[in-house]
Every structure is written in C-alpha cells, then in structure tokens.
Amino acid sequence: MMISTFKVDINDIAPELTSRPVGAGARRQLLALLEEHDSVEIDFHFKSLTPSFADECVGQLAGLIGMRNFRERVKLTNLTETAKPLMKHVILTRCSSAK
C-alpha cells in the first residue's frame, strides 16, 4: 500500500514563527494538507519559535485531530533542542484538554 507523505517547509506556510494569528494560518493550511494526503512532514529548519506560535500551530492541530492521529500522520523534523520540549508540552496539553 502506498502512503502519500507531503513535505512542508515551515517557511512556506508561516512568514514568522512568533504570533498566534500566523500560527493559526499555518494550522489551517496543515489541516487542508491532511485532507489531501495520508501524512504531513513539517520541516522547521532549526528555527526559533515562540510558545504562542507552537501552541496555535502544532498544539491546536494535535488537539483537533487527536493524539493517535497526530502521531501517525504528522512528523516534525529539524526542531531545535529548545523547541522539542515545547512541542511536547503544547501537543500533550491540547490533546488532554480536547478529550
């Protein structure tokens, strides 16, 4: 069985990785891509991001599609060592509150 994975450059869906409005716009684009593809791989290029952006873009995406779906269909690559614990936090927090 063929699995279609779409690779997304974070720079193509978010002009900066700071504000909630931009994070929300990126999340909407990711949701649209998940409608069309089995999985999505997001390349963060080791860029610095804020908690608000991470929460709005990735945390709320995970909350919307659910933890299991998120783990199976969304891959985050090239995160800074600093961003990794932040991403875990926003994903777990949003998935817990969405239950």
Partner: protein, 287 residues
Amino acid sequence: MQSTSHEEINRWINELEALRTKRTCQGPRFVKPFQLATLAHMLRLQNPGSLILPEKIAPYADTMNLWGALGIESPFPEKNRNAAGRYHPITLLQDEKTIDAAANDLAVLFRSVCENAQTIDAVQTMMRELIGNCYAHSEAHDGVYGVVCAQVWSAGRKAQICLADTGIGIRASLEQNVTLADRLNSENCCYMATEFGITSKPGMGHSGYGLHVARRLLEQNKGVLYVRSGHEAFILARGDTTSLKTRPHWNGTLLVIEWNLDEPVDIGQVYRELPLPEDMSDDDFNF
C-alpha cells in the same frame, strides 16, 4: 548600575503623576530605560506640544528618541541610532507584523555584550512573546499598543528592557475569564499573570505563556522582573518575590526586565519544567 527596585520605580511613577497634574516633576539622578519608557507612555496620553528636560538628561532622552516617540520636534540635531550600540531607543508598537523585527533589534543590542547564543535566543524569544502579548491583549484603540526601550551597561554587566503597553491592564483583562473570578477577589493580579496557564482568553486559544516564561527565565538569571498594572505590582528580584498594592494607578501594564549579562539562561529548561496534564506522558515522541 544598581538593580532596579520597586521603591525606585514607585518614586518615579509618583513623579510622573506630579508631572501629569502639575506639569513639572523632579528628574531622576541616574536615568534608566524604564523612566524614559514610562515618561513617553504617560506624555503620549497628554499629547504635549513641547517638552523641556533638564540639560543633564536631555541628550540621553534624545538618544533614546523621546521626542520622536511623542511626535514632536527634538531640540537636538538628527542622529544615527546604531542598533549595536548601548541603547535601544523608545519604539512605538504599532504593527503586529514588526514583532520579530523589534525583538531582533533587542537581540542585536545584547549580542554586542553577551556571547552566549542560547541566552540571546532565550531573551529574544521572551521578548517576541511579551511584545506579541501587547498586540493580543492590550486592546489599544489609538493604533499604538505600547512602547519598548532598552539599554545595556557593559561594565556593570546588566541590561534593562522596559515594555509599557496601553491596554486595559491585567486585572480588567483577567476579569474577562470568569474562572478566575474567585482568585481575583483575593489575589494580586500581577502575580497571577506570571503563573502558567493564567490568561484572559482561555476559550480563544490563548494559554498564558508570556509572563510565566519571563518569570522562569529571570529566576534562572537571578535578575529582576517587575510587573505593574492598575493598583498592583509584582516583583521578582534575585529569586525573591513580592506582591504589592500600589499608588498611583498605572494605566495599562508596565514590565521592567533587568538581567545579568553573565548569568546564562536556558529556555528549554523552562519548557521542560512546564506542568503536564496528569493523564499525559511525554516519552513517546519521534522528534
């Protein structure tokens, strides 16, 4: 440069009140960014046609763009303000799209005196978050959401950043979140705002990271975080915290951040220490 204290800030805010009501006040002996940012914040609301400062502090005020921030002509010739110098001049926060640029300008200033890239990234991220909060929570109606300015003291190994927003203040903002009503009846709102998860807009996707991250970073740094809004203030200084009732009233929210250039900070550690939901574990991610 001595660490900034509540008493120092309170004394100056009382002078600003005298300036507002009597059109004159006693200037400080040693001028810091917080004094100029708050002066700009207060005078903007008065819409002054001119400003006369004592000779001793006027050149510094001009370097910090006080007249420019007020939209009135400076008595000094135009000058080039070098981003990698010792000062970050008073900047009006008017466009949400410039958050990164404003935080980056601060990072350029700090890179000239601090070589620790992890620390610079942490301070820059903190400022992106806090400046972003001005736009997200301030509810300004005149197009200006706040003012920011900063200075480094290379010899004293300290830096100060001041951010004064023009919003409705922390208490009025948190009162929009009905789940906080009981706590607001008995607790200091400025202290509450530094806790993780305290936000005015829980149903609108907000999480309350900004001031909590700032507080944890300043704890690591043994620096100062001063939060003042309305009749309340919270200060973290060298690890000790104090919540206060204050006078006079402060319109909006005032943040004074003072950090020690030689004390590294790790924002990743702050994130690792954020509380997780009880039913969730963080050991099963592929990144």
